[in-house]
């Protein structure tokens, strides 16, 4: 009989699939889509925009790694906040806070942030290049609260959830959106579940293939759709 470690040797190095582009012979399992709807002041749709969403950040990857990864590498993951400060996640550092009847440190989606810049390396991005602030001043948009789903929708073999946020331009001028990112307010608990790091972290980032112009008085809604088996 052979033991597991001998067999492991065959594929001990992480196998990275070859570039999947053009590989059309199978049904892709996971997809993410970014959709933007622009409406005039009367609520009439004047533009629709949709693109594939491509870009989880390093913060997201760290949160998607299981305990056994951290036990293997025996080190923590560096989470970088939108203000470029850091705190540590995983292993013997800290884990994501969870609601309870005692002492709460909420972890929640803060914003689908929009911006007017772009950057080429989403994995290492920790903030938008040029975030558009919340407000009615020059260059600003009024942000509503993010809308989170209450359930995962099942449609045949497909399952998905959609998060969204709406914005209103009362700045007096036209505002151009060229980048979008999801900001999570993350709070971590250490071994005694006491607060051990927190901050706003960018977990998903996309540059629009074509910038969107939002005239004064117009409203936009941004939808992120996360789907399996679409």
């Amino acid at each position: 009989m052979i033991v597991g470690s001998k067999v492991d040797y065959d594929i001990s190095n992480l196998y990275i699939p070859k570039d999947g582009k053009g590989d059309n012979d199978y049904q892709k399992s996971f997809s993410a889509t970014l959709t933007i709807i622009v409406r005039d002041k009367d609520g009439n749709v004047i533009e629709r925009y949709k693109q594939k969403s491509h870009s989880p950040t390093a913060n997201f990857i760290g949160l998607m790694l299981p305990v056994s990864y951290y036990n293997k590498v025996q080190k923590c993951w560096t989470m970088t906040t939108t203000s470029n400060s850091t705190f540590s996640y995983g292993y013997n550092c800290a884990w994501t806070m969870y609601p309870n009847t005692g002492n709460n440190y909420p972890v929640y989606i803060e914003n689908i942030m929009v911006g007017s810049g772009s950057q080429s390396n989403p994995y290492n991005a920790y903030n938008l290049a040029l975030p558009i602030a919340n407000g009615s001043g020059t260059g600003q948009l009024l942000y509503s609260a993010p809308n989170i789903p209450t359930s995962i929708t099942i449609n045949g073999s497909q399952a998905y959830f959609i998060i969204s946020q709406s914005y209103n331009n009362q700045s007096g001028g036209t505002i151009t959106i060229s980048e979008v990112g999801i900001i999570l307010y993350l709070q971590l608990g250490g071994s005694a579940a006491v607060l051990d790091g927190n901050g706003s972290v960018l977990i998903w980032y996309d540059v629009l293939s074509s910038p969107i112009s939002v005239a004064n008085g117009q409203q936009i809604v941004i939808y992120y759709t996360f789907s399996v088996n679409a």
């Binding site: 009989m1 052979i2 597991g4 067999v7 065959d10 594929i11 992480l14 570039d19 999947g20 582009k21 012979d25 892709k28 399992s29 997809s31 993410a32 889509t33 749709v45 949709k50 594939k52 491509h54 949160l63 998607m64 790694l65 299981p66 305990v67 990864y69 293997k72 800290a94 884990w95 994501t96 969870y98 609601p99 309870n100 009847t101 005692g102 002492n103 709460n104 909420p106 972890v107 929640y108 989606i109 994995y123 509503s144 609260a145 789903p149 099942i154 073999s157 998060i163 709406s166 999570l184 993350l186 579940a193 006491v194 977990i203 293939s209 809604v221 939808y223 992120y224 759709t225 399996v228």
Partner: protein, 224 residues
């Protein structure tokens, strides 16, 4: 100001509409975000490789979306609503508010690979393999070794090895990624729920001879 409590039907129709290749130049359909792959290497009792498989993984379960939601929408309903999201309670079966006295609670998860000898039709709500092969040396059992998880950039790879000490050939026809999601209220009762995260069948069954072994690897790549 437009505030969305529910998605307008005209928006939802557009969101769910398949991408068009040519009608709208702003619609980009050139890159896939995630590719998934399953690899299997099978050896006989002497250690010789007798079979190799590599196939696309097709079938993530809604539980995988629920785990992803921790990193996207968080665990709380909002900054001021201290109840767990419906994804945590309704899909992952976790408590909304574990009792922890004056302390706090944290959540984390682990993954492993399970193989089985059955097949079933895929739905996103599957909860288990059709005929999971249990851990052991008895008839129809395989010994599962500790899983290994690797990460390079946007790729996460889960590797598990099994060996066959049952005395007979064992046929593997299905494979799943299993998540163990834990809520740990410090000083309280720890809750761990196991959930199926992916389900696939092999294009043809794999035979692991008596004394042989097999390594299975599931790779999920978030291609930027």
């Amino acid at each position: 100001m437009l505030v969305l409590n529910e998605i307008p039907k005209e928006d939802l129709d557009y969101i769910l509409e398949p991408f068009k290749e040519e009608n709208n130049k702003k619609e980009e359909n050139s890159k896939q975000i995630i590719s998934e792959k399953i690899i299997a290497i099978i050896r006989d009792a002497k250690g010789n490789i007798i079979d190799k498989r590599e196939q696309k993984m097709k079938s993530l379960i809604q539980n995988y979306l629920a785990i992803m939601s921790i990193a996207i929408i968080g665990t709380y309903q909002s900054a001021t609503n201290y109840n767990a999201t419906n994804f945590m309670t309704n899909i992952l079966g976790l408590p909304s508010q574990p009792h922890v006295g004056s302390n706090s609670a944290v959540i984390y998860f682990d993954v492993s690979i399970q193989v089985g000898s059955g097949t079933q039709s895929f739905t996103p709500t599957l909860s288990s393999l059709s005929a999971p092969i249990s851990n052991g040396t008895g008839t129809g059992q395989l010994i599962y070794y500790s899983q290994s998880v690797l990460q390079i950039n946007n790729s996460i790879s889960v590797l598990d090895t099994v060996s066959n000490s049952s005395g007979n050939t064992i046929t593997v026809s299905e494979i799943g990624l299993i998540g163990a999601i834990t809520v740990n209220p410090y000083g309280g009762i720890i809750v761990t729920n196991n959930r199926l995260l992916s389900y696939d069948t092999f294009s043809s069954p794999i035979s692991i001879p008596a004394g042989g072994a097999a390594s299975f690897q599931i790779v999920i790549t978030f291609s930027g």
